[in-house]
């Protein structure tokens, strides 16, 4: 790998003592013919240089929509960003013009997607797709771009990179396609990489390889990473912090170890208990009863209350605030303390 790929530690300007990326109180809704779906309801999270934040949640919890809002690739309409800020290096991205936002995309913040087969253009060779930004944004010559593409493909450990430049996405295996996707995202040396369920479409063994690759790359290139997933198993080895989302809100936000040791939100607790364990056999697997809420009719009070084993009248009536539990840990539950103490034994 060339020197150019390894950036010195980014001296990222963080004015106001702020974070590299700071999402503040984001509200997004989808306006469709059938009504208004409130998809994101006051999400706040931040990311510091070099750290990995895992965003965890079921389908429809708003984790991908938040990421797309950060990238500025939401389809508007139907999506409408109602309020909030997305500050990158102190600048509010939502206040920028489309052209300024385009400059940020790919170069500062890059994203990889779940299904690399559909996310890659089927009719262009992978080398062409990886090198496209190099030629058209970085202004590299064809030969330079080609050299750099081979470096990038080596970097993501695609064997015989030089020979595979001209191959098309469908000629690669699922894992290799995801590596192509990663190489493409790394081309402009972004400071933030958003990985939207990067391993969901892959075999379990390949999942581990891709997660290892992402962890290595994040460390070697000193990027910050947002890892979006619904798989708690994927998170443990890679993430520094976890934000758990439910119905467009972050319900629990904690350091990985603290969260695994003692979840402080009934939803997180339910998720952890529904992981199959080797040491508990012969019992029925715990599940979270009920279904995720319809985002056009989010339940009153705490949106999780219809499914919550801790539910009380207050949960139906009052929307819980983020309860600060120390060490930057928060839980949006009226009974956060009790849940944590329950989990801790």
């Amino acid at each position: 790998m060339s020197q150019s790929a390894v950036r010195p530690t980014p001296a990222s300007p963080t004015p106001e003592g702020g974070h590299l990326l700071d999402v503040r109180d984001l509200y997004v809704e989808f306006r469709t013919g059938e009504g208004v779906a409130r998809v994101i309801n006051g999400v706040s999270y931040h990311l510091d240089p070099g750290e990995t934040l895992a965003v965890l949640g079921e389908s429809g919890s708003g984790k991908s929509v938040t990421a797309q809002a950060i990238m500025g690739i939401l389809d508007t309409p139907p999506a409408v960003i109602r309020s909030g800020q997305i500050r990158y290096q102190g600048r509010d991205l939502l206040a920028l013009s489309e052209e300024q936002r385009r400059q940020v995309r790919g170069k500062e913040i890059a994203m990889i997607f779940q299904d690399a087969l559909s996310a890659l253009n089927p009719v262009f060779p992978v080398g062409w797709q990886i090198g496209e930004t190099l030629r058209h944004r970085a202004g590299m010559s064809r030969a330079d771009a080609r050299r750099r593409v081979i470096e990038l493909m080596d970097l993501v450990k695609i064997p015989a990179a030089a020979k595979r430049l001209g191959d098309y996405p469908h000629q690669f295996s699922g894992g290799m396609r995801q590596r192509v996707m990663i190489a493409m995202a790394l081309a402009m040396e972004p400071k933030v990489l958003i990985a939207d369920e990067p391993t969901t479409a892959l075999d379990v063994t390949v999942q581990a390889q891709i997660m290892d690759l992402l962890a290595d790359l994040r460390r070697d290139l000193n990027m910050a990473m947002i890892l979006i997933t619904h798989d708690l198993g994927v998170v443990a080895g890679v993430a520094d912090r976890i934000a758990v989302m439910y119905a467009g809100r972050i319900v629990e936000h904690a350091d990985v170890r603290a969260l695994y040791r003692a979840p402080a939100h009934p939803y997180t607790k339910g998720l952890l208990e529904s992981i199959p364990r080797m040491d508990v056999r012969g019992q029925e697997l715990a599940t979270i009863k009920g279904l995720p809420p319809n985002l056009m009719r989010i339940p009153s009070g705490c949106p999780f209350h219809p499914r919550c084993p801790y539910v009380q009248q207050v949960c139906v009536d009052v929307v819980p605030h983020d309860l600060v539990l120390g060490d930057g840990r928060t839980s949006a539950c009226h009974f956060a303390q009790e849940v944590r103490d329950d989990s801790a034994h």
Binding site: M71, I73, R102, Q103, V104, R105, G106, K107, A110, M111, F113, D115, S118, A119, L120, N121, P122, V123, F124, E132, T133, H136, R137, Y168, H170, M181, M184, M188
Partner: protein, 312 residues
């Protein structure tokens, strides 16, 4: 790919003989008295009848006679001899005169289709549900709803006769200007279909995942549309245009008839009307080859455009 083409060529040989046999059978089975048909209302003398019967092997009757004449015909065909029409003209000469006219007409129609149909389709696809999209939808539905047999005389009357913007008929050896109006009329149907197809394809591809990827790479919108989306959207459109060019090359009976254009369709229609078996079979035999070849070209083109398709 090579094996695919070879196999298709072999299939084409079968298809060719199959179709010529069927056309030959249909043309001569239902025939009353071709010699009288040739003469029209005038009487035919015994000597003339004997000569023509001898010349066209009409003395052999029944199934045996039919196959005798068919194999005789195919033998000549394979030697490049399409034979003579009942009027005594060489069919090769007739086609040599008619084909350039039809090709010119087809190319005009194709140009109209590509320039207006595909362009408008791309615009309508990008601005889906906009004014442009809706008005083109209305127009194309109108065009698709009017049969050529109505559209051609209407265009001829208003644009050719009433307002005199174009020559109302083409006549022998027409120039490009004379063929322009018929070309537009002929192309309007392909245009409408191409527009709908392009529009749907573009609109669909704009929603594809790879477009989201291209946006997240920070590419300018113009590049996303003109490179990523267009290349994918045009795959079905090019296929359609290829088949359509094959259709247009085989002549347009109605359009050529209305505008009096001495092309392939015009001659084919005359042959059918005068029960000129040799002429009809001769033209159709060549049309079959044109059609088969254009279809093969489309299939090959399809694989070139879409790398996911590989023929084995």
């Amino acid at each position: 790919m090579f094996r695919f083409i070879l196999r298709r060529l072999l299939q084409m040989v079968l298809a060719f003989f199959g179709t010529t046999l069927i056309v030959y059978a249909l043309m001569f089975a239902g025939q009353g008295d071709p010699i009288q048909a040739l003469a029209g209302e005038r009487p035919v003398t015994a000597a003339q009848r004997a000569y023509l019967t001898e010349k066209f092997h009409l003395d052999q009757t029944g199934v045996g006679g039919f196959f005798y004449r068919y194999f005789d015909y195919v033998k000549n065909l394979l030697q490049g001899d399409l034979g003579q029409s009942l009027t005594g003209r060489s069919i090769s000469d007739i086609l040599a005169a008619a084909w350039p006219v039809t090709i010119k007409l087809a190319l005009i129609a194709m140009a109209v289709t590509i320039v207006f149909g595909v362009t408008a389709g791309v615009l309508a696809g990008i601005r889906r549900a906009g004014i442009f999209d809706n008005s083109t939808l209305l127009l194309t539905l109108l065009v698709l709803g009017i049969p050529t047999i109505v559209l051609a005389p209407l265009a001829q009357y208003f644009l050719g006769v009433r307002w005199q913007l174009f020559p109302p008929t083409a006549g022998a050896d027409p120039d490009l200007y004379a063929l322009l109006l018929p070309g537009i009329v002929l192309g309007s149907l392909s245009l409408a279909t191409a527009l709908r197809l392009t529009r749907t394809s573009v609109a669909e591809n704009l929603r594809a995942d790879y477009v989201r990827t291209a946006r997240s790479k920070g590419l300018v919108k113009r590049r996303i549309v003109s490179v990523h989306v267009l290349r994918n959207s045009l795959i079905p459109v090019v296929t359609f245009l290829g088949v359509e060019l094959g259709n247009l090359m085989s002549g347009a009976i109605i359009t050529e008839g209305v505008f009096n254009i001495p092309g392939v369709g015009f001659n084919l229609f005359r042959g059918i009307r005068t029960e000129d078996g040799p002429l009809v079979v001769g033209i159709v035999s060549v049309l079959v080859v044109v059609y088969l070849v254009s279809n093969l070209v489309v299939d090959v083109l399809y694989a070139v455009l879409d790398p996911r398709i590989r023929y084995e």
